[in-house]
């Protein structure tokens, strides 16, 4: 072509979405690395440091040397953009719901959520409070841990349960193939949790 980078220059024109789809089909279909993707994701579930409530103490104890949840391949990390799991620790207040949702939206897919403690299931002792929301109204939760607070062993168990779910149901490879998560509905909050902040 003339005028594009001088002599011998070329411009490739094509549909990027189409070629990306083709490449995906090649990798996930012909080469069959889906199983490896599931396996790899199951052993690198990194929860984000987002301590919503008092269960955060048990969260800290889970990763302490005694219980050592890092042996399951889970490492708490500070940046939401480098993590793929969110561990909701206890009550979520109305203001914290905004932080949870914003963090969830920043995390790259495939991503998972574990809700910890009685408050995260249905309010716990704050069941009739004016200032809480249920976490399952904000983000899709995979595993619930009952207890007030749950023992660190229970938290480690939940991580293992999530790993088992990912590997048995092939959640991640299906997610990548489909482009969205097939076995879980997309949760959109009924009312904007950040409305107080946006004004």
């Amino acid at each position: 072509m003339e005028g594009n980078g001088g002599n011998g220059g070329r411009v490739y024109v094509g549909n990027l979405d189409k070629s990306a789809k083709k490449a995906k089909q090649l990798v996930m279909g012909k080469l069959r690395i889906g199983k490896a993707v599931d396996w790899a994701t199951a052993f690198s579930l990194w929860p984000v440091h987002l301590t919503t409530s008092c269960c955060g103490c048990e969260f800290a104890a889970t990763w302490s040397p005694r219980f050592d949840a890092e042996q399951h391949g889970a490492l708490p990390w500070v940046g939401a953009r480098q993590t793929n799991m969110i561990l909701i620790e206890g009550t979520v207040t109305k203001k914290m719901a905004c932080a949870v949702r914003v963090t969830w939206e920043q995390m790259p897919s495939p991503k998972f959520a574990i809700a910890m403690g009685a408050c995260a299931i249905d309010g716990g002792i704050f069941y009739n409070s004016y200032n809480i929301v249920r976490p399952w109204e904000i983000i899709p939760v995979d595993v619930y841990i009952p207890g007030c607070p749950p023992r660190p062993e229970a938290v480690a168990r939940a991580i293992i349960e999530l790993q088992r779910k990912i590997r048995k149901q092939r959640v991640v490879s299906k997610w990548i193939e489909e482009g969205w998560r097939p076995d879980k509905e997309y949760v959109k909050p009924k009312e904007d949790p950040c409305s107080w902040w946006r004004g």
């Binding site: 109305k94 004016y130 107080w196």
Partner: protein
């Protein structure tokens, strides 16, 4: 120093200001009128009480008033550091306005903001009277007032009530 000695010091400091004393086991409160509150507080500060430990509000719905008490103590004066005394006032429930004590004790600032959002008490001349913990939708219900009813789980009685 015990509470009786502290009471003497406070009464000396508040001489000339009419104050109602409420005393119980381990606490003492001086309730003054709304107009005299800033004057009384600055006199207490001169006497050595240099910070607010906590700020409480009680909603007396039947009597139609709020009782606001600042619990003050001292860091620098070692004698006074062991005691906590209360200095407070009462405001009507339908028009809860009172002067701020931020300019006397700086540590009252955030506690007054919290009282503002939970009870709707308006602190005049407060430098930064914004919401602190609640969202605007919740705060406008004034959730710690007595007429804010929280729905409770029904409790089934197995034995008849006594007394």
């Amino acid at each position: 120093m015990d509470l009786a000695q502290a009471r003497k010091i406070v009464e000396e400091a508040l001489s000339g200001i009419e104050a109602r004393v409420e005393e119980g086991r381990g606490f003492i409160e001086f309730i003054v009128s709304k107009e005299n509150l800033v004057e009384a507080a600055s006199r207490l500060k001169k006497a050595g009480f240099d910070h607010v430990k906590s700020l409480t509000v009680v909603d007396y719905k039947a009597e139609g008033k709020f009782k606001i008490v600042y619990y003050v103590s001292s860091y620098l004066n070692e004698d006074l550091a062991g005691v906590i005394v209360g200095i407070g006032t009462e405001v009507p429930r339908d028009n809860p306005k009172m002067p701020t004590l931020v300019y006397v004790w700086r540590s009252a600032e955030f506690q007054e903001r919290e009282v503002f959002e939970f009870f709707g008490i308006d602190f005049e001349d407060h430098p930064d009277l914004r919401l602190l913990l609640l969202t605007p939708q919740v705060a406008e219900k004034r959730p710690l007032r007595k007429d804010f009813i929280v729905k409770e789980e029904p409790i089934i009685r197995t034995t008849p009530p006594t007394g």
